[in-house]
Amino acid sequence: MASYKHAPIQEAVIDLRVKTPATQDGIQKSLKRLANRYPDAEELRDVEVAFDNTGGNVNVVHRQSGFKISSADKADIALVKTTGLTSARLAPYEGWEKLYELAQSNWEAWCKGTRRTQAERIGVRYINRLDIPFAGREGIPLEHYLKFVPNTPDFSHRPLLSHSVRVVKQLEDKRWTCTIISTMVDPPPLIGHLSLLLDIDVFRQEDIPSHDDALWEEIAAVRELKNNVFEACITDQARELFL
């Protein structure tokens, strides 16, 4: 991705999941190590609903799955779970280097607390939002901004009111897979704008290094992969929005 003055990144995420879930005690130890950076914490709970198809009973089980912790300005967030660690940065985005260093440091704290190190999935997800001004236009042709749009049959000249497209595709390096979602944000966060989400998730679930240095080398390499996907998805007219 070129260096844009107004990067459209709403959320940037580095996510690592482990083979063997950690214990709650391990999670607590990790939280202590991360408390300075993320002073606010809230519990995360999974809800499991089981239907008994003979008697019609419904059984609901709440299970603590970890914690969502956040910085004082609420822009840095981490999900500390038994199954792994997610480090995220909301807008304003401060660049890949900062996110990468933060995620690496968080991972070190998580591993020391939980005594787990072997990741089984690594992923880098960038949720971009293109805020496009209507500027007097009745509708905005999506293809002027995105190269990844729904192909609708020609039954009406009226503008699209909403859309959602999702594709999953392997990258040239087949160890990496990419999920791309394009959809409209309704209602748009800005007045007089159409907002399009472009959600890019590049992940890998095989051949994951067990050694930390090699693991983070692989994650560093995702930067170029996800940038290539982003640039392939947008037009020059979209790029002008970020200058």
Partner: protein
Amino acid sequence: MISDSSTERVGQYANDLLKADLAFRRGEGLLFPATRTSAQKTARAKEDLSSQLFESRAAGKIATAQIAMHLDRDWRDGFFRQLDSLLDADEWEPDDEPVTQLSYKTFLRTIVHLGATRRPGIGASEDGQLIASWRNGDDRLVIISGQNDRVRWSVRRNIDGELEVATGVTTAARLPRILESFDCEKLYKA
């Protein structure tokens, strides 16, 4: 000059505006519902004020993160300092409602739509609406952000030696056109 540190709960001018709007509000309860029953007040008093103020500060910062790519970084950081000061438990009137998420949302949408690059002084109404005020000498602009993009505005401008005062309720989308005739950009643009 506008003071960036003017984070008092309700500034002098905003107080005047609130008084002036009382009668207006009685007739416009649907737009800015503010009346609470005594039972509601009692229930609220039992809740932890610090926790409510924390939630309100967090809501303001999370709402800001949604549009932070359109804000100057210094503006954002300064606004967060103002929020921390405004929603300080030691200074807060226990009967007042902390600023609501919907009010933050309207405020931030209004700021971006206006292109307001000069940070306002902020305060809060007793029913949890964020008050933004810009001031330059005797000239003032106050915007109170309700829910769903509804805003109450008030302008005091000295134009060619003649004092003009106006107030009204509109949508955030319409606000720039309304303020245009009062030449208010000088107040909210750096």
